[in-house]
């Protein structure tokens, strides 16, 4: 095998299962690739070479013993550094957790291990998943493999870039306002946000509890569906986890790959008609809609009048929850502790720890959220935002009475150069304009590459009703069957 890193996850699993290559060889090929390119990409915060090889050896031993292997056994996977990994450093890209090794695995990580996947390491991200460019990582940004001078999207830029750079065939991301889909779009990869509650949040370092959703990143829709099916399903340790059978997304992806969308009704969100989006992005989006029509889908315009308030509602709800979720980072029980010299009071130690440990965007959101929840402002801000959330949910519900899925561009613009939006937080927040409504609603959505603009990838977002994750996989796979998989320039 000349280049194992170019194979899809499905191909790798089949090759390993057939015995043509060992899981150790596959793991080593990816570790070598990381060694060769990650200095330039910086997708990883921590590479677990020993752990990966041990897991791979385990798969090989099981195969040798004739044990049955799961559909992704031996396939390498990279995990966003916001999920806890037992004994393996987990920082959420924050200084406040530098060097912390959790005593437990996130449920998703447990499931990945049980499925025999090989965890390569932990990927870079915006600190505590707050950001849309991975520039807010306390450990330096990740570079987009399509153009190393540009951002890889955020907050899951590390996971998306690792896949685009062939460092890993699969990765886990988390999506609070678009952090799987948006990096997927700007790196030309597939990223899916499952139904909220469809994947466990246990072990996911909380940013915004009511929005955070872990999900798969891959180079193909089929790979994403395979990973999705391994990590999804009810978890009694997460009260918000839905006690229901996950739809068969793998079968849906296979069905979509036949390229037939006859009988599928697709809605275009009128309010996402192009305002604030780059012309090149809108052109690629229109081409994609046309391609879907050619596959037999019926396309109609649907008005979702409250989507225009999604961004402000999101920027009250998410920081409010974050301000509470991040309160535990106080220097008392784990992670960084500043001012511990016997000369400072408890309050001062907490304050100095947080001052030293949190980056600017995290501080901004804690302050925003604290303000929005404070007495006297709660009703005007947090309470009002929750009402908007209800209205957005109603928009979705009524839309899905008319169509099977909704589509839109994933991001309003292609990958932008570093530093171009950090000086104006609002410009940065716009990156998630199209992805945020879905998080407020809780339904699933996927970003799939639909073409290029100025030589950079553009993604199509497909949104489905809650617990109908299979529908978006079907449409995404169908589009992929005509657009094809994007290949970035050689690094």
């Amino acid at each position: 095998m000349s280049d194992l890193t170019r194979l899809t996850a499905a191909e790798l699993a089949a090759t390993i299962a057939s015995g043509d290559v060992s899981a150790v060889e596959v793991a080593q090929a990816h570790l070598d690739r990381i060694a060769a390119v990650d200095e330039r990409v910086h997708a990883f915060l921590h590479v677990d070479t020993e752990g990966a090889l041990a897991a791979a050896r385990d798969v090989d031993a099981k195969r040798a013993a004739g044990e049955e292997l799961g559909p992704l056994a031996g396939v390498p996977v990279a995990v966003k550094d916001i999920l806890t990994t037992k004994g393996v450093p987990t920082t959420a890209a924050s200084k406040i957790l530098e060097g912390w090794r959790p005593p437990y695995d996130a449920t998703i990580v447990e499931r990945l291990r049980a499925a025999g996947t090989v965890m390569l390491g932990k990927t870079n991200m915006d600190e505590f998943a707050m950001g849309s460019s991975t520039e807010y990582s306390a450990y330096g940004p990740t570079n987009n493999p399509w153009d190393l001078g540009r951002i890889p999207g955020g907050s899951g830029g590390g996971s998306a870039a690792a896949i685009a750079a062939y460092e890993a065939p699969l990765a886990i991301g988390t999506d609070t306002g678009g952090s799987i889909r948006q990096p997927g779009a700007v790196t030309g990869t597939v990223g899916a946000k499952p139904t909220y509650g469809g994947t466990s949040r246990y072990g996911l370092i909380a940013f915004s509890s009511s929005l955070d959703t872990p999900g798969p990143c891959a180079r193909t829709v089929h790979d994403a569906a395979l990973l999705h099916s391994v990590i999804a399903g009810h978890d009694p340790r997460d009260s918000t986890s839905i006690p229901q059978q996950v739809p068969d997304v793998v079968a849906a992806a296979r069905l979509g790959a036949t390229g037939d969308l006859t009988g599928v009704k697709i809605g275009l969100v009128t309010e996402f008609g192009g305002e604030g989006a780059e012309p090149g992005v809108m052109a690629a989006y229109r081409d994609a809609v046309e391609a879907l029509t050619k596959l037999g889908a019926e396309v109609v315009e649907i008005s979702c009048p409250h989507f225009q308030y999604a961004l402000p509602a999101y920027y009250l709800i998410a920081p409010s929850e974050a301000s509470s979720n991040l309160a535990r980072f106080d220097g008392v029980r784990f992670g960084l502790r500043a001012g511990d010299d016997g000369k400072h009071s408890l309050e001062e130690v907490m304050s100095l720890t947080r001052e030293a440990g949190f980056g600017p965007e995290v501080k901004r959101r804690i302050i925003l959220g604290t303000y929005a929840l404070s007495s006297g402002y709660y009703d005007a801000y947090y309470g009002q935002a929750q009402k908007v959330r209800t209205l957005i949910t109603r928009d979705f519900t009524s839309a899905f009475e008319q169509v099977d899925v909704l589509v839109s561009p994933t991001t309003p613009f292609v990958a932008f150069p570093f530093g171009s939006r950090t000086s104006d937080p609002y410009q940065m927040y716009l990156a998630d304009l199209f992805t945020i409504p879905t998080n407020l609603y809780g339904g699933p959505a996927i970003s799939v590459p639909c073409g290029l603009s100025e030589g950079l990838p553009v993604g199509l977002q497909i949104m489905a009703p809650t617990m109908a994750d299979d529908r978006m996989y079907r449409v995404a796979a169908a589009l992929e069957s005509t657009v094809g998989v994007l290949t970035p320039p050689a690094l």
Partner: protein, 501 residues
């Protein structure tokens, strides 16, 4: 600070009308914590009953304990509350090192149980205490300040935190303000907490031990000058940890507030702490700069919707209310209202009940608990249940008396040993050699000695003045250091002197 002369209580209640309110926290006796599977055993080595969830480690999530929800609903039903058909948890945000997440998962504007009442008896009169809400939350850890003289944070060189208690389910029971109790306010407060404790104990959901902190009480007190309608500013006296202290704290705070108001000053809304040693209250932090808890619905937990059929089932299975139960016991034990009241006031109902169950007669059980043991409890400011004797031990003691192995005096000495933890009554009797001497051989010698030493009395008895025998019995008791059985001695004396008893 100037020294103020505190007004006498009678004077206070002549001029002011108190309004009281009570917030009681009860740690539930579930096997596992509120939101994780950690054990809840009291007194374990620090930080041995913890996991990522109750330590609030990054990524950990709560999963609610159904047994705790059930216990809370039962408490609500026993307090005549309505059970919400839909409710949810909220986060109460504030920073403290013994609170792992720096927010407490509690209930705020959507509690599980609302609008109930508890009838309590004070001086033979029924007082209805209205309950505003009963809700469920999680307990915090415990902070230990080391190196200072007082054990408080000031002067300490380091602080240690034990998170074993963090996450234990805690039920908070809040009364509505209770006006119109006048001079009886402290007694009403005590009677309410006592009754509440009995109700919760009857449900078998908590051991409600105030001295171990599994039941803790905050007492709100305000005063209104007689004739005025608007209630005064209240203070909250935190963590009062015995029934007696509840009564004392209300009384002390009434006197203090009256003295402040008499001086023309105003009462600040503040948290105060009851001082067990002096019996007064001292200020804690001022509520005027109260923390903004930034309550909001807990996004990590889905709302609760207790099934109506389940609630109905729990209601049907409630035990007899303690008040009704007591009425029944009073009849069984053949006590007057007054006698029963003293049993209740002493907190002895269940102890006597258990003692009877262990084999004692009602009279015997009542005698020891209300006599010797109540006296000791009072002297040492302890709850009767904490005085150091168990119902089984008291029953055994009474049995030894009934068997004639102990007389009253010796039994009291044995009880001393029981309270001192020397063992069972039988063991103590044997070890200390306290058994009644009824061996006639040994006693005859002592009787003969007494007759010889008191010829005048002996003569009177021979002449038929049997009542004089008492003096000789006393003499024999003296030489046998009280260990003789008085009845046997008397019989021996009469037999020796040929008199008829």
């Amino acid at each position: 600070m100037t020294t103020t002369v505190l007004p006498p209580y009678d004077d206070v209640v002549a001029r002011y009308e108190p309004v009281i309110g009570l917030e009681t926290h009860v740690e539930l006796g579930t096997n596992t914590k509120m939101f994780c599977g950690c054990p809840t055993e009291f007194g374990a080595e620090p930080n041995t009953q913890v996991c990522p969830v109750c330590l609030g480690l990054p990524g950990a999530l709560p999963a609610p304990n159904r047994a705790a929800i059930e216990a809370t609903i039962r408490i609500g039903l026993a307090l005549n509350c309505s059970i919400a058909d839909w409710c949810r948890f909220a986060r109460k945000n504030y920073f403290y090192p013994d609170m792992p997440k720096n927010f407490q998962t509690s209930q705020y504007d959507e509690p599980l149980c609302v609008d109930g009442y508890l009838d309590v008896e004070v001086d033979g009169e029924m007082v209805r205490v209205e309950i505003e809400r009963v809700h469920l939350e999680e307990d915090t850890g415990k902070t230990l300040h080391v190196g200072g003289a007082t054990g408080r944070i000031h002067g300490a060189t380091e602080s240690l935190v034990d998170y074993n208690r963090a996450g234990i389910p805690l039920v908070e029971i809040v009364t509505k303000p209770i006006p119109g109790t006048g001079a009886k306010a402290p007694l009403v407060a005590r009677a309410y907490v006592t009754e509440l404790r009995d109700v919760i104990r009857s449900l078998n959901v908590s051991d409600v031990r105030m001295e171990q902190g599994s039941m803790r009480c905050d007492v709100n007190t305000s005063l209104t000058p007689v004739g005025e309608t608007e209630w005064g500013t209240r203070t909250e006296t935190k963590n009062v940890n015995s029934l007696r202290s509840v009564e004392r704290a209300v009384r002390a705070e009434m006197i203090r507030q009256a003295s402040v108001l008499d001086g023309g000053e105003r009462i600040f809304q503040e948290t105060r702490h009851f001082q067990e040693d002096t019996g007064d209250t001292r200020p804690g932090r001022s509520k005027e700069e109260a923390t903004d808890y930034r309550y909001f619905p807990e996004p990590d937990l889905v709302p609760m919707a207790p099934d109506a059929a389940w609630v109905a089932e729990l209601k049907a299975a409630l035990p007899e209310p303690p008040r009704v139960h007591r009425k029944r016991l009073q009849e069984e034990w053949g006590l007057t209202d007054l006698d029963m009241q003293s049993v209740v006031n002493a907190g002895a109902v269940e102890l006597i009940e258990a003692t009877i169950a262990a084999g004692a007669t009602a009279a015997g059980a009542r005698k020891w608990w209300l006599g010797e043991l109540a006296r000791r409890a009072n002297e040492e400011s302890l709850d009767l249940s904490a005085v150091g004797a168990t119902p089984a031990q008291v029953a055994e003691l009474q049995q030894l008396v009934d068997e004639g192995k102990l007389n009253d005096k010796l039994a009291r000495a044995v009880l001393e040993g029981v309270v001192a933890g020397e063992g069972s009554p039988r063991e103590i009797m044997t070890a200390r050699g306290l058994e009644v001497v009824s061996d006639t051989g040994a006693l005859t010698a002592a009787v003969d000695e007494a007759i010889a030493a008191n010829p005048d009395i002996a003569a009177k008895i021979r002449d038929g003045k049997v009542a004089a025998a008492g003096a000789l019995v006393g003499a024999v008791m003296k030489t046998t250091r009280g260990q003789a059985d008085a009845k046997t001695v008397r019989e021996l004396i009469l037999a020796r002197l040929g008199a008829q008893g």
